[in-house]
C-alpha cells in the first residue's frame, strides 16, 4: 500500500509546530499503526533526519500510553480501539492520513506527537486512592461486595487514562477521566468512606489544571477505547453535590 502522511512536527514545548508531509510505499495491511510509524522513523533515521517522537508502551491496548489524533479522531477511525490496536487494513492504498498529538492546554506537546499528560497524575494524586493500613491481606469475605457492584466499579476502573476524552471534548474537559476514578472508588465499600473528601479534592484539582467544563455532548464516551460511560460524570456531579450540600 502507498500511504501519504501529514504529521505534526514540533521541535520542543515552546516552538511552533507544523504539518510535514511524508510518503510510504511499502505499507502492509497487517502492520499496526505504530509499526507503520516505526517504518517511517527507520526511513528518516537512514536519511539522517530526526525521527518522529510518539508515545507508546505495551502495544497491547492496555496501558493507555499511545494516543494520536488520526484523521481528526482520537485513536483513529475504529471505535473503542487504542492507537496501537489500529491496523493499516483500516486504510486504503493511496490514502492521506493526518497524524496529530492530543491537543489541549492541559496537555502541552513535548515534541512531535508526544504530549505531557501529567495533569492526569496530578488529579489522581489529589484523591484517587484509598487509605488502608498495611499488613497482612484481610479476609476476602469480611467486606461484602455484590457481583453487580463489583462489575460496575470495574467498568469505571477500566479507564486507562489515555486522554482521548480530553482530546475529543470541544471544551477539553477531563470530566470523564476524573469521574471514572471517583465513581470507581465511590462504588466500593473500601472507597466509600473517603468519597466526599476525595470527590471535592479531585474536582478542585481538575479545575486548577486548565481543563474545561462538561457540556454533556457525550463525545468522550463515543471515542473512549474503554467505553467508559458518561454516567460516571453524572455520578461525580452527584457525589460532589452530596459532599457540598
Amino acid at each position: 500500500m502507498k500511504i501519504h502522511l501529514n504529521v505534526w512536527r514540533q521541535k520542543h514545548k515552546d516552538s511552533k509546530g507544523a504539518i510535514v508531509k511524508y510518503s510510504l510505499n511499502e505499507v502492509a495491511p497487517e502492520m499496526s499503526f505504530l509499526e507503520m510509524l516505526d517504518m517511517l522513523n527507520l526511513k528518516l533515521a537512514k536519511k539522517g533526519e530526526r525521527p518522529i517522537e510518539f508515545d507508546h508502551d505495551c502495544r497491547e491496548g492496555i496501558c493507555g500510553q499511545c494516543g494520536l489524533m488520526i484523521n481528526g479522531i482520537a485513536h483513529g477511525p475504529l471505535k473503542n480501539t487504542t492507537t496501537c490496536q489500529l491496523h493499516m487494513r483500516s486504510f486504503k492504498d493511496g490514502d492521506t492520513i493526518y497524524i496529530e498529538p492530543f491537543k489541549a492546554k492541559a496537555f502541552p506537546v513535548i515534541r512531535d506527537l508526544k504530549v505531557d499528560r501529567s495533569a492526569f497524575d496530578a488529579i489522581i494524586a489529589a484523591g484517587g486512592y484509598v487509605s488502608v493500613n498495611t499488613g497482612q491481606a484481610p479476609e476476602a469475605n469480611s467486606v461484602m461486595v455484590t457481583h453487580d457492584e463489583a462489575e460496575s466499579a470495574f467498568d469505571s476502573a477500566a479507564c486507562i487514562g489515555c486522554g482521548a476524552c480530553v482530546a475529543t471534548c470541544k471544551n477539553a474537559s477531563a470530566a470523564l477521566f476524573t469521574s471514572a476514578k471517583i465513581s470507581h472508588l465511590a462504588k466500593l465499600p473500601q472507597g466509600k468512606k473517603e468519597s466526599e473528601q476525595r470527590t471535592v479534592n479531585m474536582v478542585n484539582r481538575m479545575e486548577n489544571l486548565e481543563f474545561g467544563h462538561c457540556t454533556n455532548t457525550e463525545a468522550c464516551e463515543v471515542e473512549c477505547p474503554q467505553e467508559i460511560s458518561v454516567l460516571n460524570i453524572a455520578r461525580m456531579n452527584f457525589e460532589y453535590n452530596k459532599a457540598k450540600l
Binding site: 477539553a172 467544563h213 455520578r235 456531579n237 452527584f238
Partner: protein
C-alpha cells in the same frame, strides 16, 4: 458565592435556572394557546388573562426570578464557553464532530439566537404592554391581542419567530437532559427516560410555539 467556585457548581446553577426557564415555557405556551381561539373570544380572553398576570404580586415575584434566571444562565454559559474555548486544542484535520450531535455542540450559538430573539420579543410585546401606549378593547382592557395579531401579519416576522423557536427546540432537547446530568442523575434507567422526555418536550414545545405565529399569519 458558592456557585462561582468551579465549573461543576456553575453548571449546577445553569441547570437549575435552565429547568426553571423550561417550566416557565410550559406555562407561557399554555397561556398563549388562547390566541388560537376564535378572534373575538380570543381578544377578550387573552387581554383578560394578560391583565390578570400583570396584576398579580405572585407573578411579579416569579417574573423577577425569570429575569434573574435568564441573566445568570446567559452569563454563566458565556463565561464557561469562553474559558473552555481557550483551553481546547485546534487540529489541522478535525472530525471530532462525528461523536456528538450538532445541537449539543452548539448550545452557545443556539442560546445566542434565543437571547437575540428575547430582546426583540421584550421590545415588541413586553415593553409596549408595560410602559408604552396601547389601545383598549371592548371591555376596557389593554389590547395586547391586537398588538400580537398585527405583529404577525408580516411574513418576515413569522420567519424570524420560526428560526428562534427551532433554535429553542434544539436547545431544549439537549438542555433538559444535560441539566439532570449536571445535577447528578446517574441511574441508567432514569437517564434514558429523561433523554426521551427531553426529546418529546423539545418537539412539543417548539411545535406549540410555532403554531401560534403561523395560525395568526394565515388567519389574518
Amino acid at each position: 458565592m458558592w456557585y462561582f467556585k468551579n465549573a461543576l457548581t456553575r453548571k449546577n446553577l445553569m441547570a437549575l435556572t435552565g429547568l426553571f426557564l423550561s417550566f416557565f415555557l410550559i406555562i407561557h405556551l399554555v397561556g398563549n394557546l388562547q390566541l388560537l381561539l376564535p378572534a373575538k373570544e380570543a381578544q377578550l380572553q387573552y387581554n383578560w388573562y394578560s391583565e390578570l398576570l400583570s396584576g398579580s404580586w405572585f407573578i411579579k415575584i416569579v417574573s423577577y426570578g425569570l429575569y434573574a434566571s435568564i441573566l445568570i444562565h446567559a452569563v454563566d454559559a458565556f463565561y464557561l464557553s469562553q474559558k473552555s474555548r481557550m483551553l481546547s486544542g485546534q487540529y489541522a484535520k478535525d472530525r471530532r464532530n462525528r461523536a456528538s450531535s450538532w445541537y449539543a455542540r452548539h448550545m452557545m450559538l443556539l442560546g445566542l439566537i434565543i437571547f437575540a430573539f428575547l430582546v426583540i420579543h421584550f421590545k415588541d410585546f413586553w415593553y409596549p404592554y408595560k410602559f408604552g401606549e396601547i389601545g383598549l378593547d371592548a371591555d376596557g382592557q389593554k389590547d395586547l391581542y391586537s398588538l400580537v395579531v398585527v405583529a404577525f401579519q408580516d411574513w418576515w416576522y413569522v420567519i424570524l419567530y420560526a428560526v428562534a423557536i427551532l433554535a429553542l427546540g434544539f436547545h431544549l432537547i439537549h438542555g433538559v437532559f444535560s441539566a439532570t446530568r449536571s445535577l447528578g442523575l446517574y441511574s441508567p434507567f432514569y437517564t434514558k427516560m429523561v433523554k426521551g422526555v427531553s426529546l418529546v418536550f423539545g418537539i412539543i414545545l417548539s411545535l406549540g410555539y410555532l403554531i401560534i405565529p403561523i395560525y395568526l399569519f394565515i388567519n389574518n
